[in-house]
């Protein structure tokens, strides 16, 4: 008998589209300090509650509370604040450079600075990162030269990547920062492979990787979870849930049915869900997972619950697919503001110091940008020598590439 009820196809929709009222009421946000902190040796099967909760440390009075409150000294917190502010100033400057035609493309991480910066400062500097295009804060927190990053964005004569890569697709081996691919989620299983190699060599370093809520749907991420679980690789698999994958909200990646942290459960891994705009919580959870990996207790999955305050990239306009004021309504606030208020509340910072630091960093970014621009920009050039196009395809250039290189040189002497 044919069922007369039309079940239809479930196609998730976000709570509001342009013109609609911003509504985050369906988010369940617990108070800070409420979530337990298990011993890293605890069986992951006993930790399943953590995948459905939200680890938060900073309370409404800007104090660090609860079992996850990390014992971080004020110097480290001020370093974190500085790196987040510098990341934001750098992003603003590069977006402006894109508007001026000095680069063709840029991607900022505004509102998500605590993810990369908080995690970088909780890791060892030689731990190996396999990031996406939105973790520029890793490089900044590891004191990688801004000039080098800008030269990559401008694809100029000092770009170490020889103008080959799309802007923001950095590579910095010395900073433990893997070459970024434009293809999504490929880095996740590569991070597991790196971690397996480290385990094989009894290397104390761990691997850390990031993927977006959207790209966590790619097969590669699921392969990463399987391999990480099977080989108990010393790796941290981060899912940055910033709510939006270009125009698709996180429900299109499966976020309406469960949390992204809960992806871990089916693989027998710990899954921790953390307020990604709470610098202290991000640092604490990362340190916990790093300790666990380094102790040989295996991989962990962390969902960093945050919000992409800006556009996906300079190529899109988010007001076309979400309310223009949605970012302002994000209930977990701004990571920089929250860390600043905490530092002031504990007497380790002041508004005057903050204003002075902002001015100093804006000046640093401006000066560095001018220096980078003096080495060229994408619109004015000069590009790298054309012959370099044929280098590094192989270690040794085969005859057909040598011939193509000659052909081009004869053509464009």
């Amino acid at each position: 008998m044919r069922n007369s009820i039309h079940h239809g196809l479930n196609v998730p929709e976000p709570s509001a589209r342009p013109g609609g009222r911003v509504d985050f009421s369906r988010l369940d946000i617990p108070k800070a300090g409420m979530v337990r902190c298990p011993d890293p040796t605890e069986n992951p099967a006993e930790m399943r509650d953590l995948a459905y909760d939200l680890i938060r440390v900073l309370d409404e009075q800007h104090q660090a509370v609860g079992p996850w409150a990390p014992k971080l000294d004020a110097d480290l917190l001020r370093r974190g604040l500085r790196a987040m502010l510098l990341t934001r100033a750098y992003d603003e400057r590069m977006v402006r450079a894109q508007r001026q035609g000095k680069t063709s493309f840029y991607m900022k991480c505004t509102g998500e600075e605590a993810v990369a910066v908080g995690q970088a400062l909780a890791l060892r500097r030689d731990d190996m990162c396999f990031p996406t295009y939105r973790q520029q804060g890793l490089l900044i927190a590891r004191d990688w030269p801004l000039l080098d990053m800008m030269c990559q964005v401008f694809a100029n004569s000092k770009d170490r990547l020889k103008g080959r890569q799309l802007p923001v697709m950095y590579s910095a081996r010395e900073a433990g920062f893997f070459s970024i691919s434009g293809n999504l989620a490929t880095q996740t299983s590569q991070a597991v492979g790196w971690a397996m190699a480290a385990a094989f060599k009894d290397d104390p370093r761990i691997a850390v990787t990031w993927v977006g809520d959207g790209a966590s749907a790619e097969g590669d991420f699921h392969h990463a979870l399987t391999f990480a679980a099977v080989y108990q690789a010393p790796v941290i698999l981060n899912i940055v849930n910033n709510q939006w994958a270009i125009s698709s909200f996180q429900g299109i990646a499966g976020g309406e049915r469960t949390t992204f942290a809960a992806r871990a459960i089916g693989f027998g891994l710990p899954g921790l869900r953390v307020d990604g705009n709470d610098f202290l919580a991000v640092a604490a959870v990362t340190a916990w997972a790093a300790e666990r990996a380094r102790a040989g207790l295996g991989p962990s999955v962390i969902e960093l619950f945050t919000y992409r305050a800006g556009a996906h990239s300079t190529s899109d306009d988010p007001s076309k697919y979400r309310p223009a004021d949605e970012a302002a309504g994000w209930p977990l606030g701004d990571p920089i503001q929250r860390l600043k208020e905490h530092l002031i509340a504990v007497g380790a910072w002041s508004q005057a110091q903050h204003t002075a630091l902002e001015a100093e960093l804006t000046d640093l970014v401006t000066r560095t940008a001018k220096q980078a621009e003096s080495f060229g920009t994408i619109d004015k050039g000069p590009p790298p020598p054309v012959a370099t196009m044929f280098e590094d395809v192989y270690k040794e250039m085969p005859w057909h590439l040598r011939r193509q290189q000659q052909e081009l040189e004869e053509f464009e002497p």
């Binding site: 694809a155 434009g182 590009p383 395809v393």
Partner: protein, 338 residues
Amino acid sequence: MTQPMNMIQAVNSAMDIMMARDPDIVIFGEDVGYFGGVFRATEGLQKKYGRERTFDTPIAEAGILGVAVGMGAYGLRPVVEIQFADYIYPALDQLVSEAARLRYRSAGEFTAPMTVRVPCGGGIFGGQTHSQSPEGIFTHVCGLKTVIPSNPYDAKGLLISAILDDDPVLFFEPKRLYNGPFEGYPDRAATLWANHPLGQVPDDYYAIPLGQAVIRRPGDAVTVLAYGTMVHVALAAAEETGIDAEIIDLRTLLPLDIDSITASVDKTGRCVIVHEATRTSGFGAELSALVQEHCFYRLEAPILRVTGWDTPYPYSLEWHYFPGPARVGAALRQVLEG
């Protein structure tokens, strides 16, 4: 009635018309629903036909193609978008081992009547992951059809045929041609399709059969085989060199219009093949072999290929990579000397 349309509007019109005619057509892909696609090709379709027929998918190309195979096996007619050709590789298994062979392995019990729209090609400063032309990978797979239009008029008529086709069709859309014809000069003012005869597109249904090439410029001196963006580059090269080239826009790579190719090369005795994709094992190699097999005794000079170099598409050097009119013109001169 005809309207000026750019290639995105033409593609949109084809899908709109086919969705209205056939309720079994469903459209899905990354960002194609509410937003209407990053290139706006599906704009308005969700609003007009509802979320069940035009919807966003998870970012998982293997999933998109696998789901399309399953829907096709049920009897729907999926038209899916892979956001950039460069993102299609995770879906290779579903295309190569599944969609392409389903009819064969089930002796026709199951088929995959799906269309895969794939924005491709460079010239937009997209770097190595937003610029590739992987058509040659797919022409190498038996069971798939491969189409690449060079203008809005063809794009609409060919996409309608692709959707109607009962076999899986890869429909490559050169991104650089979305807004206007492109002769290969990035510094010159852009031309819009509104000012081009092939940008005048009928509102209504029409189909251009797959497997038919078209002569864009008749000539006697040399045959140029091109498709997509390179058709316009080749036309510019013929104009600049004053060489009386016969320029054939292949439009469909598989099935290939071999008769048009051989008729032209038999007439001119010379052949230059142009594509933006890398050279080695590219579709030009197949074309070269076919011309040699069919026209060997008529050939008066070696067949030449003008292609992208065998490197990843370099971001800042893209105009040194892109095979522009100067390189095509040099090949035309060389093949006449031969």
